[in-house]
């Protein structure tokens, strides 16, 4: 049917045509010339990448942020367990609605909210604590490199925790109620029910998300969060691979070099994803992809 053709072309143009741009990673791209009349330089840009200190810095930050992210990834599962224990439905619903709201605002708004509370001059926390005499000097956590990684992980949790719990609540709702009844007959209390029935019920979902998380390891921190929260004081801790590609490529106009870094990132990410999937397949026989 004719109806599909224009939309299909749209998909091809915006999702597939740019893939040919990967050729640039092996060229010295010069704007204004056609893609094919550029000069080829082999692996020059990849060699430059491995010789660049800032690249290693970005890689380190990315991996640390990913690791912290994976470390707290069971948190939504824990929240789902706690919500599930609440007997009053209105309370559970209210908390669920409120805690998942931050997921629907942009990172700019998240930054604005944290700026309002934590900035050194106008931040409410500083004002309040100085006023009460709890702090003697204002704290500038948004510009504190030693706290940056942990702080950003907490910011990420604030935004994603409530929404993350909802998917686990769906898994909990799918558990056969007879299991709980059988457990109660056997004299299990709520803690044992949670441990032996609810938790295993959520585990397959967790495994899927964890594997996808490993595939996304090289995006640690994400572009938007790092970009909005970055400032000259903490950039050494928050510059991840995505912001590094943006800085060198679009701001530094090193198109070919940034494409090479992006390409390397994509390829390694796919390998990580396939690897994690293969391991999961071997261990519990389930494949995500």
């Amino acid at each position: 049917m004719l109806m599909t053709v224009p939309f299909f072309l749209l998909v091809l143009v915006f999702a597939y045509v740019p893939i040919f741009g990967w050729v640039m990673a092996f060229q010295d791209y010069f704007p204004g010339k056609g893609m094919l009349s550029q000069s080829f330089v082999g692996f020059k840009h990849f060699e430059r990448m491995f010789a660049d200190d800032e690249f290693y810095r970005a890689l380190r930050n990315t991996l640390v942020l990913s690791f912290l992210g994976l470390l707290v990834s069971p948190a939504p599962m824990a929240l789902a367990l706690l919500l599930n224990e609440v007997r009053r439905k209105w309370f559970r619903k209210t908390i669920q609605i409120i805690t998942s709201f931050p997921n629907f605002i942009s990172w700019i708004i998240v930054f604005s909210v944290f700026f309002a509370f934590f900035s050194v001059e106008d931040g409410v926390i500083n004002k309040l604590f100085l006023e009460l005499g709890i702090w003697k000097t204002p704290s500038n956590i948004l510009a504190d490199p030693s706290a940056a990684w942990v702080f950003q992980t907490l910011v990420g949790m604030w935004k994603g925790l409530g929404w993350g719990a909802i998917i686990y609540l769906a898994a909990l709702a799918g558990i056969d109620q007879e299991l709980y009844e059988a457990a109660r007959v056997d004299g299990a209390n709520r803690f044992r029910e949670a441990w032996h029935i609810s938790l295993p019920g959520m585990l397959p979902t967790f495994v899927v998300l964890f594997i996808l998380g490993i595939g996304g390891m090289l995006s640690g921190g994400g572009f938007e969060q790092m970009f909005t929260f970055s400032n000259p004081m903490v950039v050494e801790k928050l510059d991840n691979l995505d912001t590094y590609v943006y800085r060198t490529g679009l701001q530094g106009i090193a198109f070919s070099y940034a494409t090479a870094v992006g390409l390397a990132k994509s390829l390694v990410s796919i390998l990580l994803l396939l690897g994690a999937n293969a391991i999961s397949k071997r261990i519990n026989g389930s494949s995500v992809l």
């Binding site: 049917m1 109806m3 599909t4 939309f7 299909f8 749209l10 998909v11 915006f14 999702a15 597939y16 740019p18 893939i19 741009g21 990967w22 640039m24 706690l82 224990e85 609440v86 309370f91 908390i95 609605i97 409120i98 805690t99 709201f101 629907f104 605002i105 942009s106 700019i108 708004i109 604005s112 909210v113 700026f115 309002a116 509370f117 900035s119 050194v120 001059e121 106008d122 409410v124 004002k127 510009a143 604030w158 929404w163 909802i166 998917i167 769906a170 709520r190 979902t205 572009f223 000259p232 995505d242 590609v245 490529g249 679009l250 198109f255 940034a258 494409t259 992006g262 390409l263 994509s266």
Partner: protein, 293 residues
């Protein structure tokens, strides 16, 4: 069977969840209160529960300045037109893909689904937009993201569950696919289309990456990105911030902080206003997505 430890747990659980709820809710409440407070009165200590010296001066300042009004309208325009385009595009494409006489429909579907896993990356994407002469145009907000694989899968699944007899009857009566689509399929699919519309609209309203990457011209600035620029010009050093504040005090009757808060409220407001009512649609979206994906 409820023992003492279970009761203790239950109480602690309620307290913990309540604290979590406050942590997620209060910051927004505080910002709203601040934005309605007298900018000078809150300099020393802000109102934590109620506005100090209730005033609309922050909003008056914002809405009388063209550099906020214009981004506001750009954001509204992209949200309305972008959502409409995505909805029409994904629904028509999905409908076409459900029809057996569409050539290569399986192939097209696979190609589409694959877009969820691959991305050419920042620079090739940028150069494509550049080659298409879409840099610094409004189009870049609404065209590249028009077809979304995730939305399309959800819509297609819904279409496939519609009773086939209705359509067959309409075909026998001589209606074309276009007529059937508009007057039969679309009205029957309101639930899924509403869900998608909400997702798309929130995505459009919140999107600022395309603004950062592709549109540097002032006339196409979105509200989100304007707020970011405003936040980033606030220096992190005490001295500069104090100077800005002093400047703000002298020139107007406002402070950068108050203006920041008010703009933040305006940017959140549309999402905040629809969210409590539409939360179930969001949840529905993720549930279908979880089952499918």
């Amino acid at each position: 069977m409820s023992s003492l430890s279970e009761k203790t747990f239950s109480v602690l659980n309620y307290v913990f969840l309540a604290i979590l709820g406050i942590l997620c809710f209060y910051p927004f409440y505080f910002i709203i209160v601040y934005s309605f407070s007298d900018p000078k009165a809150v300099l020393s200590s802000p109102g934590y529960l109620f506005p100090k010296g209730f005033t609309l001066v922050n909003y008056e300042t914002i809405f009388t300045q063209n550099d906020v009004l214009r981004p506001f309208f750009i954001s509204v325009a992209r949200t309305v037109s972008g959502t409409a385009l995505t909805l029409i595009g994904c629904a028509m494409f999905a409908y076409g893909l459900t029809k057996k006489d569409t050539p290569m429909r399986k192939f097209m579907y696979v190609v589409l689904v694959f877009t969820m896993y691959i991305s050419a990356g920042l620079i090739p994407g940028y150069l494509l937009i550049k080659e298409l002469h879409m840099l610094n145009t409004f189009w870049v907000y609404i065209i590249p993201g028009m077809i979304n694989a995730f939305f399309l899968i959800l819509i297609k699944t819904f279409f496939e569950q519609l009773p086939a007899e209705l359509e067959e009857a309409a075909l026998i009566e001589g209606a074309g696919y276009f007529r059937i689509f508009w007057s039969l399929v679309v009205p029957l699919s309101k639930p899924i289309l509403a869900t998608i519309a909400i997702f798309a609209a929130v995505g459009q309203w919140n999107n600022w990456m395309d603004n950062l990457l592709y549109n540097s011209s002032q006339s196409l600035l979105t509200l989100q990105f304007m707020l970011l620029k405003f936040l980033q010009t606030q220096s992190y050093s005490m001295k500069d911030a104090a100077m800005m504040a002093a400047l703000g005090n002298e020139a107007f009757n406002i402070t950068p902080q108050s203006i920041r808060m008010a703009i933040t409220v305006i940017v959140i407001f549309p999402v905040l206003a629809v969210y409590p009512f539409l939360q179930r649609y969001f949840v529905k979206g993720i549930m279908i997505g979880a089952v499918k994906g």
